[in-house]
């Protein structure tokens, strides 16, 4: 999901990648960012967040930058930014298509 072979990103995936655009983030900050950004429309369960961070790390979309006790901070990689941009372009195209029909 995300990228040509992945298919579209799910909403939680999209927002988690978005959370890293401006700065490095740890788990709690990501959860707060997503809740604030979506006005609680998208909620991140700890299982979903944990699974996503592991998956994104495995796929090289994010990388760990700092470990402070239990707190782990991550940042977006170039590949992660490209995947996010690709999804953004796809969503824009969808939106344009819809607006043309209205």
């Amino acid at each position: 999901m995300g990228g040509k072979d992945r298919g579209p990103l799910t909403e939680p995936m999209f927002y988690v990648l978005m959370s890293f655009l401006k700065r490095d983030m740890c788990g709690t900050e990501i959860t707060e960012f997503v809740a604030r950004k979506t006005r609680d429309r998208v909620r991140l369960g700890p299982g979903t967040l944990y699974t996503l961070l592991g998956k994104f790390q495995e796929e090289g979309l994010i990388q760990e930058t700092e470990v402070d006790g239990r707190k782990r901070t991550y940042r977006l990689t170039g590949k992660g930014r490209a995947v996010f941009q690709e999804e953004l372009d796809r969503l824009r195209a969808c939106l344009n298509d819809a607006e043309e029909e209205i």
Binding site: T28, V42, R43, P46, T48, L49, L52
Partner: protein, 406 residues
């Protein structure tokens, strides 16, 4: 000294893949004051405490390790406390906080985890089918040559029971695979998982299944690795306690000289009896005697195999005797036996009201003879190479088949 805590054990009333049912049940237990401590594949152990209504449980599919501390810390921050791990299946978390978010909020992502479980269940099903086929093939191989003898004296019966158990388990295993497949499809479609589902009060299947598994393991190990050592090894022929063995000296007549060991301190390999135990034939005797008669290079010997058949299987005694006789005549490759000498076997059947089967056989123009007899409960086979004629000792053979010592 620290006192060991008493835990309450309960059988899990739902299938383990029924996550919603399991979470619901654990919540209900907590509401009754039973707080989960340990979860096994069939049972759960609880500590008794104050009832806490509204406790929620969350199950997470396990990773590579039994305890994932990093994950537990992340979940703790969100209000979920790690409780225990169900090996190779779930991490179990609980929360009393009403505002704690559900563990998973992305069904499509969750479907990838469950898909792994689905594939694992599917592999398990294929493995079960393979084991069933293997059990069937092994049973067929075991029973191929002398089916009744092998049924009574090998692991064939536990193997058949195991095969039947596997066969009975397959429909439930397939239903589980199908349930998982449906769940994965629902998650892929974006439908979130349920966290509450009705469950039965009791489920005896795991208990029965566990008991059957233990029984099967015992039955498979017992005849192969334990029973053979209970018979006591070689012993003097006079110690045969269940029947009076026909004596080689008696059949050979005057001039019989027993074969003697060169070293009298050595165990006598030429005159001995041995008792064997089998699952379905608790007492089986083997009696061997050898003499020094001049038989043109052939050993003068007699072997008696005696079988005690349990009453419910007494209908097998006559077929077993017939099978033993037939096998005995085919044992051309046995170095102690007919030495691949030419000639055909002449079989004589004898009628006697005391036995269900009585027959003697002699390989024409040779010294090789065999006889078998069966009553309701005992079967005897005699193999003999010597000057005598077994058909003259039918009375002794019948007495052996009837059992009891004179």
């Amino acid at each position: 000294m620290k006192q060991r805590e008493t835990l309450i054990r309960k059988i899990i009333p739902v299938e383990l893949f029924d996550m919603a049912g399991l979470e619901h049940w654990l919540s209900d237990m907590a509401a009754q004051g039973l707080h989960l401590v340990k979860l096994n594949h069939d049972t759960a152990r609880f500590r008794r405490g104050e009832p806490v209504p509204g406790v929620r449980f969350g199950l997470e599919i396990t990773g590579v390790s039994d305890i994932d501390r990093e994950r537990n810390a992340a979940y703790q921050e969100a209000g979920w406390t790690y409780v225990t791990t169900l090996r190779n299946l779930y991490y179990v978390y609980r929360t009393e906080r009403v505002d704690a978010p559900p563990l998973h909020t992305d069904p499509a992502l969750q479907s990838q985890q469950w898909n792994k479980l689905y594939r694992s269940a599917r592999r398990g099903f294929v493995r079960d089918v393979f084991l069933l086929v293997l059990a069937a093939v092994l049973t067929a191989l075991l029973l191929e040559d002398t089916p009744i003898l092998h049924l009574l004296t090998t692991s064939a019966v536990p193997l058949i029971l195991y095969g039947l158990y596997q066969l009975c388990s397959l429909p439930a295993a397939w239903a589980e695979v199908q349930d998982l497949s449906r769940l994965v499809r629902r998650l892929e479609a974006g439908e979130p998982m349920d966290h509450r589902a009705p469950y039965p009060r009791r489920r005896l299947v795991p208990l029965l299944s566990f008991a059957l598994c233990v029984l099967l393991i015992v039955l498979l190990v017992l005849p192969r690795y334990i029973l053979p050592f209970l018979g006591g090894g070689r012993r003097p022929i006079g110690e045969v306690s269940d029947f009076s063995p026909l004596s080689l000296a008696q059949v050979e007549g005057q001039g019989y000289r027993p074969y003697e060991m060169e070293d009298p301190d050595q165990s006598d390999y030429f005159h001995y009896s041995r008792r064997n135990h089998y699952l379905l034939c608790w007492n089986q005797w083997e009696v061997f005697q050898a003499g020094q008669a001049d038989l043109a290079g052939k050993l003068n010997w007699m072997q008696i195999d005696w079988y005690d058949i349990p009453a419910p299987l007494s209908f097998l005694s006559a077929p077993l005797a017939e099978e033993l006789l037939s096998k005995s005549m085919k044992l051309d490759e046995d170095i102690w036996w007919t030495d691949q000498e030419g000639g055909t076997w002449q079989v004589s059947k004898h009628a006697d009201p005391r036995v269900k089967f009585l027959s003697t056989a002699r390989k024409e123009r040779t010294l090789f003879q065999t006889a078998a007899a069966a009553t309701g409960g005992q079967v005897v086979l005699v193999r003999y190479t010597g000057h005598g004629d077994l058909s003259e000792y039918l009375e002794d053979i019948i007495q052996m088949a009837e059992g009891g010592t004179s």
